[in-house]
Amino acid sequence: MTSSIWFGALEQGLLYGIMVLGVYITFRVLDFPDLTVDGSFTLGGAIAARIIMEGLDPWLGTALALVFGLGAGLVTGILHTRLRIAPLLAGILMMIGLYSINLRVMGGKAMLPLLRLDTIYTDVARVVASDWAVLGLGVLVAAAAAYLLYVFLQTEMGLALRATGDNEQMSRSMGVNTDSSKVMGLALGNGLVALSGAMVAQYQAYSDVGMGIGMIVVGLASVIMGEVVFGNRTLARTLVAVLAGSIIYREVIAGVMRMGLPTSDLKLFTALLVIAAMASPMITQKLKPGKTVERVT
């Protein structure tokens, strides 16, 4: 069972799920379409891989990935709030800039293989059965991230963050520094994305300068699928749905690949999936006249 593609998809679903939580914060909570994600995911993978290549502690590499991911989000936030660059453009600029930075982190190579090197998983595999190392660590980190988010989003600062994404005018009239909220949310989101990148790179045993391409769309697809299946009536439910969405997405991908879809078509498939999810409320509306549906963003 542990070697089946479904099991692999479950592992990936959890590891990428941490990235999806990050996308949930920026895209859903903050209502900020943040393309930095494509760059910060790779950044996380690159940092972890480089640290491991240098013979340093993989846990250090993973922690540094988180920290630099936070930094990347911070810069996006500053581009947007201080320099008044539009959200999409701020993200694109970061994505492009990070591409070069990621190459530098990886010592100019487009790929850093980690075969036979110690990773966080080989460390864990010394304690538990090696087949379960990835799943165990994935569950642990994803659940911890989701729980911490759940707690944070109900603190005074967390409420201010959510209010900023919901209604900026109201937030400012209630004394919320909406610029700070946005910077904080973007940092937090990209921190999680980079952490996920670090964990994915160690899982697949290489980091690749292109590993983050389309990550924002994957994140979005997962958030939407999770919300459709599990709903978003409460915060706790939404966070579980977001993680579950990531797993569903990976299982669906595993399914279509098994049916013979070549890997190179996956991105097109993902894009079509998001389009279908976004169009579905419109189509339902057309079928049931008189019902108004809010636009999915």
Partner: protein, 265 residues
Amino acid sequence: MLQVKGISKTFNPGGVNERQALDGVDLRLQMGEVVTVIGGNGAGKSTLLNAIAGVYKVDTGSINIDAEEVNQLPEYKRASYIGRVFQDPMMGTAASMTIEENLSIATKRGLRRILKRGVKRKDREFFCDRLRLLGLGLEDRLTTRVGLLSGGQRQALTLLMATLNTPKLLLLDEHTASLDPHTAEKVVELTDMIIRKYQLTTLMVTHNMEDALCIGTRTIMMNDGRIILDLNDAQRKNTSIPDLMEMFKKASGFAMADDKMLLAN
């Protein structure tokens, strides 16, 4: 309390859409004074409120709240002195958040927000007490998302949120204009009750002449970015709604006559 001195504001200066929204407005409010603001479309009523609230900086003039000059303070910092209710019932609350979460945000207006739980048990009692004042049964729906409430309920909630931490100044910008007449009446009653209960210094823009004369102790009329009429309580008592309409016609008519004279020259 509030001291507005010679403020002017021009939108899109130099552009084709250039429009002077405020033209040297002076206004002083005493502590506890409740002033209604009336005037036609584009008279500058909302601009005046937004300028005081800090939505945009004024071109000239100064705004003081108590002794402090607030001209340079950004909107979110002025919020520590000012409670606001907007015309659009959707504007004053966060739809995706629950009633108690919205109220929790309101309790922190002007205070530092930290990593402490937002809605605590003792907060809930306080929220229920305050919500009971509205008489809408919202105290039983603390965990309902605000997006599920009606416009009138949301506006009443916004009013409560704006006054939850007693503000030095309450700004109401046609806050009943987009409600149906019955709901509007109810919200006006609530407004009057809350203003009296907490003795709030208030500036209330309204399009309802009856409300304008009934609420508070003073009425000002604006036209073309200027205050053209300022009625104290005694003067208001001798003023009927038709009188007020007549005054408005006359006052804005004079302005037109002035224009004609200018053109004739």
